[in-house]
């Protein structure tokens, strides 16, 4: 029999998280701070709308771009948070999670050999999606001394005449870094000067703890060269509903929707009805969850200080990214030993790019009680090594 597998796919490294997941599952009594999704249930009024839509028999496809009503709500939401107007018909469409939008953006914009700038540590799917779209991923290593923010110089150092897209993954998973308006202004200058496009993954935009999130689309000249990606998973605790969206220039959206139409057809109908309710009446829920995340974030940072675990203060998402360099172990060794010896699972920084070496990702999408139990284990471990 011939080799059934294509070379492009084989060459892609499997996610580093997968490997660790398997070890954790075999460890009995392990507690985990390794989850990348909210611990809250989807607020009941949102779930109730989903159930109601099923009862009413709204079980058919929606239009390829998604429910008109939902696109209108997305447009309203961006208007009220960023002050930018997107045409709900031509410039907004609904995807199966933010991840689909990332994939589509690359596939719609890339010609083979184009370069995509990917800051790391960052979410695991940018690099493989770029490769699958025949792009050449070019990694920008974010630095702890910059609080893992992206600087204009770092972009300039990697730009070539083949560079087409800059991925902007902020607020960031796994570091928790956020980009302020001034930081973005520097980046925008370079993007315009070098004629690049931005794929801005703002899935954690509602989870910032030092002021409101600023999107790069709100800066002059950036709306026309940015694909804004967001979704419902993190803000409304709706990961399992698989729903996100992309906003951007009509000509790019058209091509993205074309791929989406052939590959996906449309995002889940039930989820779309629920999401309308989320955007219309979910602000209070988001506020409540953000407040609680913030308490946990402060608790962890305080504990790290007490335990002598160095960590810059992250102001976004629900992760902290402490440095373990002083213990003379690799991230992988540290996490494996922590799991074996104290049955506490955290994710090695290297799962998010080679430059995550020397760091671990700790998620605070857990109750305070859980975090306290976990910190007891971490304390025992740190005293021992």
């Amino acid at each position: 029999m011939r080799n059934p597998i294509g070379k492009k796919v084989v060459d892609i490294k499997p996610s580093g998280i997968r490997k660790f997941f398997d070890i954790v599952q075999e460890t009995e009594g392990a507690i985990s701070l390794g989850v990348g999704e909210p611990d809250f249930d989807t607020p009941w009024h949102i779930r109730d709308e989903g159930i109601y839509s099923l009862e009413k028999g709204r079980t058919f496809y929606t239009s390829n771009s998604g429910l008109k009503e939902l696109r209108q709500e997305v447009s309203n939401y961006i208007k009220r948070t960023q002050g930018i107007t997107y045409d709900p018909i031509k410039e907004v469409f609904i995807t199966v999670g933010g991840s689909e939008a990332i994939d589509l953006a690359f596939r719609a914009m890339i010609d083979p050999g184009d370069e995509v700038l990917i800051p790391q540590p960052s979410y695991v799917s940018y690099e493989p999606c770029a490769i699958l779209a025949d792009a050449v991923p070019v990694i920008i290593e974010l630095k702890e001394e910059n609080q893992f923010r992206l600087t204009a110089k770092e972009v300039l150092d990697k730009v070539t005449d083949k560079t087409k897209i800059l991925v902007l993954p902020f607020p960031n998973n796994p570091t928790g870094a956020v980009m302020g308006k001034e930081d973005l202004e520097e980046i925008a200058k370079v993007v315009i000067e070098k004629d690049l496009f931005v794929v801005s993954d703002e899935i954690y935009s509602e989870l910032t703890y030092n002021g409101k999130h600023v999107s790069i689309v709100s800066l002059p000249g950036m709306k026309e060269r940015t694909i804004l990606i967001n979704g419902f998973s993190k803000a409304y605790a709706m990961t399992g509903w698989r729903l996100g969206y992309a906003c951007g220039p009509e000509d790019i959206m058209k091509q993205m929707v074309k791929i989406h139409q052939f590959a996906i057809m449309c995002a889940p109908t039930t989820s779309q009805y629920a999401a309308v309710e989320a955007l219309k009446n979910g602000d209070e829920d988001v506020k409540r969850m953000r407040e609680e995340y913030n308490h946990r974030r402060r608790y962890l940072l305080n504990e790290f200080e007490r335990l002598g675990l160095p960590c810059f203060e992250p102001f976004g998402a629900f992760y902290v990214f402490p440095s373990i360099k002083k213990f003379g172990m690799t991230s992988d060794e540290f996490c494996t030993r922590l799991l074996k010896e104290e049955k506490l699972a955290v994710v090695p920084g290297t799962a998010f790019g080679d430059c995550g070496e020397g760091f671990i990702r700790i998620s605070y999408a857990y109750s305070l009680d859980n975090l306290k139990k976990a910190m007891e284990r971490l304390e025992r471990f740190l005293k021992k090594i």
Partner: protein
């Protein structure tokens, strides 16, 4: 978010939290948080630090009843006078002035149906201003003070996700 509201949000859910931990969660100085707490107590915003108990899980019998009470308000006093006469009974746990079909909602805790019935017959219904009462016994508590009593939270997420 103002600190007062945030303090109240936290201690409403967890009154046993100590000042140190509270100050960590709020990212505020311990001394400020302690001062704010004291002020809230003195102003009567914080009225007590009680414990929520699901008595049905013990073998101690408790009966709860909601009683709708219609009363004649007194000149110059409105409902306050009669409300006071009712809330002074220790078996009465709550008294609310209501809009709608009746005037006072009285929540009562007793050891048995008989005891509750006795209170309504002998004490409540015989008060001069009370026109009528309608007693409803609570059969089962599903949720109380924002806490679901029926089941415990269970984390069903995958253990590690990107």
């Amino acid at each position: 978010m103002n600190t007062r509201e945030e303090i109240l949000n936290i201690i409403e859910k967890n009154s046993r939290i100590d000042v140190h931990e509270l100050s960590v969660l709020l990212g505020a100085e311990e001394i400020l948080v302690a001062g704010e707490l004291k002020a809230l107590e003195e102003e009567g915003v914080i009225c007590g630090y009680h414990t929520m108990i699901d008595w049905s899980k013990t073998n101690i019998e408790k009966v709860n009843a909601l009683i709708e009470v219609k009363v004649t308000p007194t000149r110059g006093q409105g409902f306050d006078n009669i409300a006071e006469r009712i809330y002074k009974y220790p078996e009465v746990t709550s008294v609310y002035l209501m809009s709608g079909g009746f005037d006072l909602m009285v929540i009562l805790e007793g050891k048995s149906l008989l005891e509750v019935a006795g209170f309504v017959n002998n004490k409540l219904a015989t008060l001069d201003n009370v026109l009528s009462t309608a007693t409803h016994f609570i059969l089962k508590k599903y949720k109380d003070h924002g806490t679901i009593l029926a089941k415990k939270y269970e984390d069903t997420r995958e253990i590690i996700t990107p």
